[in-house]
């Protein structure tokens, strides 16, 4: 697919091209692959050192996994507790069953404030509900304030990673975007200068726009508090300077108690950015008289989470604390970057979360976008067994497709069905081997290898040879040996 045909990157799972197609497009972009590999290597290097130093790392993962599982199993109770405590502290809690309702709730709240502009801290959840374009269409400008998000907003790009969303963009690309959109003619591509440009650009917005939208890393049931973890300080700006704050959070973000942050915070920064602790963590409870926004709203979002919650094997997907360690460890992501996944949740977590949020009606290629190597599970701070969920989702997709008779003529499906039939009987299996061996001779060249195969085989021989089938296979050899020894 040419760039012209491919068009803009599409992160709407309903319309994004399937993973193999999207990935092929990304694989053709050497700049992207270089940027992605560089970013990943930096984070992984730092993470590796800190994990090695943390002698109780595995115990922390176990505790985090249990805490998150416990919350999910008792989510109703903890959500109600959070709502009660947050309300008692002066917050207003709203519930949105789906993306459309969340957008409309937020719009109403902004209209109540006569807000024409709003400042935002990066929140993947707001991208999930496609908030910004909706606000724009309703006459409200949303200004992103994270450096990466500004780069993407000004450059009209899409995020490719959930912690370092612009990791696919290099410094000269950033320079070009800032120079053009901020009107700075003599801007160099030095990251310090670029960052200063962003700082100046945003300062006035922080000081003058009275309404902000944030996400949440954790909602604390015990106290009704919210915790936000960040590096740049734009979060603190948005959380304390405006008059009105709206926090959008998925219902799965709840943790039972304030003290549980002692586990989550030790895991999160190490996993996400390879630091012992991120520069700034903010915690607030409802409204604090004389300090920060005097109007505070929380919008709790379901949008498919309660369906995932109902499924015993898939429920663990909701344990996610959005650290992105999985995509940093993923050998597939390393090659394709995030856009190939056609979702704002890319990488291993995206491969299981996205199709499930879509009720398995879209993004069905994502569970197959994995070699099942297990590196993600190994690094996940809350021990989500991503390979297990991937395999489960693959079975669901295939069962869907069986019913739809979609794949009757798919050569791979035909091949797997035939193989299953053959594996059910040794006699059939052996006969098929004999047939296969003779058929393979047609494709075996003088060097004893097959260089070009038809149909599904062509996918193999695109880049690899396949050695010709030996004239005697193992079970024949064994049988012969048995006869000879008699």
């Amino acid at each position: 697919m040419s760039d012209a045909e491919y068009g803009r990157v599409n992160l709407d799972p309903r319309f994004a091209p399937p993973f193999p197609e999207a990935a092929l497009h990304e694989l053709r972009n050497p700049q992207l692959r270089k940027n992605v590999a560089h970013a990943i290597d930096v984070i992984q290097g730092k993470r590796g050192k800190l994990v090695a130093e943390k002698t109780d790392w595995q115990a922390l993962r176990e505790a985090a996994s249990e805490i998150r599982t416990h919350v999910l199993e008792n989510l109703g109770e903890y959500l109600e507790q959070f709502e009660e405590r947050c309300t008692a502290a002066g917050g207003v809690v709203h519930w949105a069953a789906d993306a459309a309702e969340a957008r409309s709730l937020i719009l109403d709240l902004l209209r109540q404030e006569n807000a024409k502009e709003v400042i935002k801290i990066k929140t993947m959840t707001s991208a999930e509900i496609q908030l910004n374009p909706f606000l724009e269409a309703n006459g409200i400008r949303a200004y992103e304030t994270d450096l990466a998000e500004i780069i993407l907003q000004l450059g009209e790009g899409e995020p490719s990673h959930i912690v370092v969303p612009a990791l696919h963009v290099n410094r000269s690309q950033v320079r070009e975007i800032f120079a053009r959109r901020m009107g700075l003619k003599n801007l160099s591509d030095d990251p310090q200068e670029l960052t200063n440009a962003a700082r100046t650009y945003l300062r006035q917005k922080f000081l003058s726009i009275p309404t902000a939208i944030s996400g949440a890393n954790s909602l604390i049931a015990e106290t009704g508090s919210v915790a936000v973890v960040e590096s740049e300080g734009n979060g603190r700006m948005c959380l304390t300077l405006p008059r009105t704050l709206i926090t959008l959070a998925g219902i799965e973000k709840v943790i039972p108690r304030f003290q549980d942050l002692e586990v989550i915070l030790q895991l999160l920064a190490r996993s996400a950015t390879g630091e012992r602790m991120n520069p700034y963590t903010s915690l607030w409870t409802g409204v604090a008289p004389g300090d920060g926004p005097q109007k505070f709203h929380v919008v709790l979002l379901d949008n498919g989470r309660s369906s995932i919650l109902a499924k015993p094997k898939e429920r663990q997907t909701l344990k996610c604390i959005r650290c992105a360690a999985c995509m940093n460890a993923c050998p597939v992501y390393r090659q394709t970057g995030g856009h190939a996944y056609g979702s704002i949740y890319p990488g291993p977590i995206g491969a299981i979360l996205t199709p499930q949020l879509m009720n398995m009606e879209h993004a069905q290629s994502l569970p197959f976008a994995s070699s099942l190597c297990g590196a993600c599970y190994e690094v996940c701070p809350v021990k989500i067994n991503i390979p297990e969920v991937l395999i489960e989702l693959r079975a669901q997709v295939v069962n869907q497709e069986r019913k739809q008779a979609k794949r009757i003529f798919d050569p791979l499906y035909i091949g797997l069905r035939i193989a299953s039939f053959l594996f059910a009987s040794a006699g059939r299996f052996h006969a098929a081997q004999w047939l296969g061996r003779n058929f393979a001779r047609l494709f075996t060249r003088q060097d004893g290898w097959m260089h070009s195969l038809p149909s599904v085989g062509a996918k193999w021989t695109q880049t690899r040879d396949l050695r010709g089938l030996p004239s005697q296979n193992f079970h024949e050899w064994w049988a012969q040996r048995g006869k000879e020894s008699k």
């Binding site: 070699s371 297990g374 297990e388 193999w460 089938l469 193992f474």
Partner: protein, 254 residues
Amino acid sequence: MRASLFITCYNDILFPETGRAVVRLLERLGVALEFNPRQTCCGQMHANSGFRREAFAQARRFVQIYRDTEFVVVPSSSCVAMIRDQYPGLFEELGNDALRKQFAALLPRVYELSEFLIDRLGVEDVGSCFPHRVAYHASCHGVRVLQLGERPYRLLAKVRGLELVPIPNAERCCGFGGTFSVKNAEVSSAMLAAKLQDVVSTRAEYCTALDNSCLMHLGGAMHREYVGMKTIHLAEILASTEADYERFPVEGTR
């Protein structure tokens, strides 16, 4: 000691020399090896491709064939991972209690080759000789699911004449991933190209592993690209003895 060899479907057809090497090796170590000709496949390919119904049938068959065996030895870490990691869930879902119990009793008796040598036979030095520069590729299932750890390295350390060279980024997936290699052939090939760079940088003569699946993928690219390296299953290195070097080249060179 008696043990039954589960050769695996793909080794039977594509890499019989690995099977012959396992036989040679284990008999040399005094194991009375059996081979049940009714065996076919463990079901991994189907389970991982979403064909769970079909995988059930294969899993059931495996248990029926091996339930009375003393030990089952498997020269493929991904197949053992399937049996250890996924069979429990499959039998749970099948709801057949008798089968689940039979499997539970069988499971501790199923060994990957390096596990069988180190844990069961208690040997590291298997009397082998393979005077070549060798790089060991640690397959993902072996590393992460079976947690083989030091086992293959301990075996390689005792092979006479063998010079082991570490592969950079050793624990990164080669990109095979079963049907992933054809369903996502381009990404698989990109991962393969990256892995090949790391393997080739070792300047080894041979790349070895406990899984012919990875080796087929790596070896296929090596052959296509005229890379001066061959692949060989660890069983064939371990089966090779000094006597082989006196009379003829090591079996299994490709």
